[in-house]
């Protein structure tokens, strides 16, 4: 392997290695399978350079900024000993992060098109906008609620597998009773709602909380917050599909 001393250069090299597989896959398929010339080489090179530099900054920033702030806040809340504030904070964080999430806004718009096309809602502008907003609210409420459950679980030490089984049974039941058009959107909703900012922050929250409570293990108890986000947002979005 290439050995580099400078830490910044070292992380640039490792970011480049992280991005390299995508380039290899695209180039191989372009030349061997599709057999068409590549478009603009200059753009490709500049773009790749930007991706590598951006990734380096991003990973560094997440480690130096977002993880510490999430952990320090979790520790402060645990020291304060106020369960209510911890819960309010968890809900606000989940709801606030998701309601403004650009990917979710785009997906909700697309989903409103489906709903209108299949006759779930009226096919006019205001009905579509209402549907898209309702969808975003359901996901945001779901993620807020999921973080609350997750935080309570860490504090009280509930075993994770049981909660996941309950969530899973909920999904089976909801799938069988909710309208078909909403199922695909619901299944995707959790994955769409979790972004590059929310994931590290929520992970730091869980790990920080689990490390500041004596009888909890950060590895076993700190994770699982995001898992609830998936299960609960699926359930909530299907419930939303049933209400309209």
């Amino acid at each position: 392997m290439i050995s580099v001393r400078n830490p910044l250069l070292k992380s640039l090299v490792s970011s480049f290695l992280d991005v390299l597989p995508i380039l290899v896959v695209i180039l191989i398929f372009q030349f061997l399978v599709i057999r068409q010339p590549l478009g603009n080489i200059d753009d490709l090179l500049t773009g790749t350079a930007l991706v590598v530099i951006g990734l380096t900054f991003l990973v560094y920033g997440l480690e130096q900024g977002l993880f510490p702030i999430g952990e320090s806040m979790a520790t402060s809340f645990a020291r304060k000993g106020s369960l209510i504030w911890m819960i309010v904070f968890a809900f606000a964080l989940g709801f606030g992060a998701v309601i403004a999430e650009p990917t979710l806004i785009a997906v909700a718009e697309k989903a409103s098109g489906i709903a209108a096309g299949s006759g779930m809602i009226n096919d006019d502008q205001s009905a579509r906008e209402d549907f898209a907003l309702g969808l975003r609210l359901s996901v945001a409420l779901a993620i807020g609620f999921a973080l609350v459950i997750g935080v309570i679980r860490i504090i009280l030490g509930w075993p994770l597998p049981y909660l996941i089984i309950v969530g899973y049974l909920g999904i089976i039941v909801m799938t069988s009773v909710s309208p078909q058009q909403i199922v695909g959107i619901a299944y995707d909703s959790g994955g769409v709602a979790t972004s590059i900012i929310t994931v590290p922050l929520v992970t730091a929250l869980g790990v920080g909380l689990a490390s500041s409570i004596k009888s909890r293990n950060p590895m076993a108890d700190g994770f699982g917050l995001i898992a609830f986000a998936a299960l609960i947002s699926m359930t909530f979005v299907m419930a939303y599909g049933m209400i309209i």
Binding site: T46, V51, G54, Y60, M73, K110, A220, A227, A230
Partner: protein, 262 residues
Amino acid sequence: MDWIVNFGKIILETVRNVVPIVAILIGFQVLVIRKPIAHARKIFFGLVYVLLGISLFLKGLEMTLFPLGELMAKQLASPEFIQFENSDGKTSWRSYAWVYAFAANIGFATTLAEPALIAVALKVEKISGGAIRALNLRLAVSLGVAFGIALGTFRIVTGSELYLYIILGYGVALIQTAFAPKLIVGLAFDSGLITTSTVTVPLVTALGIGLASTIPGRNPLLDGFGLIAFASLFPIIAVLGYAQFAELRTRAARNSKDREDR
């Protein structure tokens, strides 16, 4: 000069997306916790790096990978590219072999470059005291995504029901949960959603919609959805499997060592 204006716009957009979260963090810190943050300077500069990083990263992706990836997804799924096997002009699911191959490869590659997963994997390596290697975890998740997306494209091609796959997949994950080491369960169930953030979602969505709009009988709006669900379900199975495999290997090593000692 154009690119400066352009880049400025992207930074502004990122700032606008981050503002609600930062407002919540600062609000709770100032109003509820009422204590200064430790290492405030370091954290502030870290957040500036995050902002710059996201902007550069997204700009770069928009310039290269997204248009290329979308174009390829479209070309691979186009009727001219798919060779018709049957004489009656119907395509069988086998004709789409290159689509599955592309889906698996691009899923694997984009997951390796997913920043949130890189950061969380480094964190996990630290907390677990090196028992879980960051790269191994990322490879396990990437394999899961690769398999998931390939299976997801197969579902779009065949037009089978989404919920069957999802319910079966979760069933497998739950059975594994009963046998896997307890320490890994939370992380495994988290890992699926950790991966589906910046790089994977746009490319995978493009692939799904491209496929659904070229295959006869599929509705792009309806069948284009569901691929993300595959991408976030199969990493759970992969990470649980990785943990079970690692445990088996340590146990086997211990057994053979015991035998030697005797």
